[in-house]
């Protein structure tokens, strides 16, 4: 069901593995093992698999929050060149985070004391936009997500889970990244808000944004995904191999 017609992948994950070396406990904890997948512009690739199969780890690896243990992450730049994210320097990753790769997790990490519309406008300001137009765009997207207007001027710290999640999504979507990583973006939303978020994600797909997503609900996967990649938890025999490698 993958439609690859005349489109080249924006991301190719090749044999990506990640394990954590915990020095204090003297342990190696495997998380992702030999993951292969592709993500195309205007399409959503869903990562599925049981807890512990390393779904979030793949997303964090692409974003460089985790350092990879082995494998390659080929990302197609605006200049239509493939670069291996595992080799890219830190400033290059920061540039890509600013302009090309967005990440929406289940949790809102915002600066404390920053008001909601500023939280959402922040990625645009980092791209160089002036504050007033950036806040205007932030307000539009907050309105589109049905976040009550009287919340825009206060910090999201005291918001409910669903409200925080909408702020989080608004911030992730506002900068129009070319690749969007979504880690359970609808996890704590009620059905109405879930529907709003799903429609927003569909709009982005139509605009050509590529997405790699983890969804809690199988029915959302069925509805949204253009392709599905099923991950399996790494097995012990594989870990031993990695340890000696």
């Amino acid at each position: 069901m993958v439609n690859t017609s005349n489109k080249r992948p924006i991301l190719r994950v090749k044999n990506y593995s990640k394990y954590f070396t915990l020095h204090e406990q003297g342990k190696i904890i495997p998380s992702s093992h030999a993951v292969n997948l592709e993500v195309y512009p205007g399409q959503l690739t869903a990562l599925t698999g049981p807890t512990g199969s390393g779904k979030s780890t793949v997303l964090k690896g692409i974003y460089r929050t985790y350092l990879p243990s082995s494998g390659h992450l080929y990302f197609r730049t605006r200049e239509n060149q493939e670069i291996d994210l595992t080799l890219a320097d830190e400033h290059r990753i920061l540039e890509l985070r600013r302009n090309d790769i967005g990440f929406v997790t289940q949790f809102l990490h915002a600066l404390p004391r920053q008001i909601t519309e500023d939280v959402v406008a922040q990625p645009l300001i980092q791209q160089g936009m002036k504050k007033t137009p950036a806040v205007n765009i932030a307000r539009e997207i907050l309105a589109a997500m049905n976040l009550p207007e009287d919340l825009w001027g206060i910090s999201p710290a005291t918001f409910s889970g669903g409200e925080k999640q909408r702020v989080n999504l608004a911030r992730g979507l506002v900068s129009r990244p070319r690749l969007l990583l979504l880690d359970e973006p609808t996890a704590s939303l009620d059905p109405d808000t879930t529907e709003i978020v799903i429609r927003l994600i569909e709009d982005l797909k139509h605009e050509g944004v590529a997405m790699l997503a983890i969804f809690h609900h199988p029915e959302v996967v069925k509805r949204m995904a253009d392709s599905v990649v099923q991950l399996k938890p790494p097995t012990t025999s594989k870990i031993k191999l990695k340890e000696t490698a």
Binding site: T65, D89, H91
Partner: protein, 284 residues
Amino acid sequence: MDNISNTRTDKVLQVKNLSKMYGKGCHACFETTGPQYNTNICAHCGSVVAAHNVSFDLYKGEILGIMGESGSGKSTAVKCLYFDQVPSAGSAIFTDEAKQYELFNMNSAQQRHLANHRFGMVYQNPHQGLNFDISAGGNIAERLLMSEVDNYAAIRARATELLARTEVLPERMDELPKNFSGGMQQRVQISKALAINPPLLFLDEVTTGLDLSVQAAILDLILEIQHEQQTAMIVVTHDLGVIRLLAGRTLVMKYGRVIESGLTDQILEDPQHAYTQRLVASAL
């Protein structure tokens, strides 16, 4: 261009192999010190290796964190760059308005000139950064005078503006720093450091020892300054919270060595070194 490198052309600082020794040094100094030996004192000659082979770069508007406990060499690195201490080895190139300065090859007059005109420093202890015998406004004036601003009205206006900016009541401009609370003294120190709009600012444990609410206000102020002025900053701290809030990239130091460096979220979520893992695990 190889496309895994960044495209930025606004590098402010390039530090290579910065080292600082106390003592005469010997052949064994670097082989007997460092994190794997749990000491920075040479077993052979007793010299202290305060910092060894510290290298990093810093771009415009970027905040780099240097994290480590006391004695890790994090302050030493910054003090060498601000010319408070003389490094034993290494180089540091500061780029400013298309001119490059090899910091450690300049004579002391040139170094003082650069520090007065283009650098700002905020110390943990306001006594180090402020002259306690003159007023808050006088401290700012002093810095402006060193930078050849000598019109009384202009100095007064700038001091008022800076104190207002850092939320110190301008009416208290003529009071001595000793009349101020610790948080206020720190704000005056920041005003003084910012007086000349430096493109490079060093912050050495600036929130350590302050009340939490005061810390928060100072950290907010630092972020606002970064945003408004695109000031490049090096933030030295042992506080993971400060690092998380301020720094885009972080170096972790122990016993004079950089044991790891990376994007701050990576350092905090996927620390590689045993010491960093322990630090992150013990954060409240």
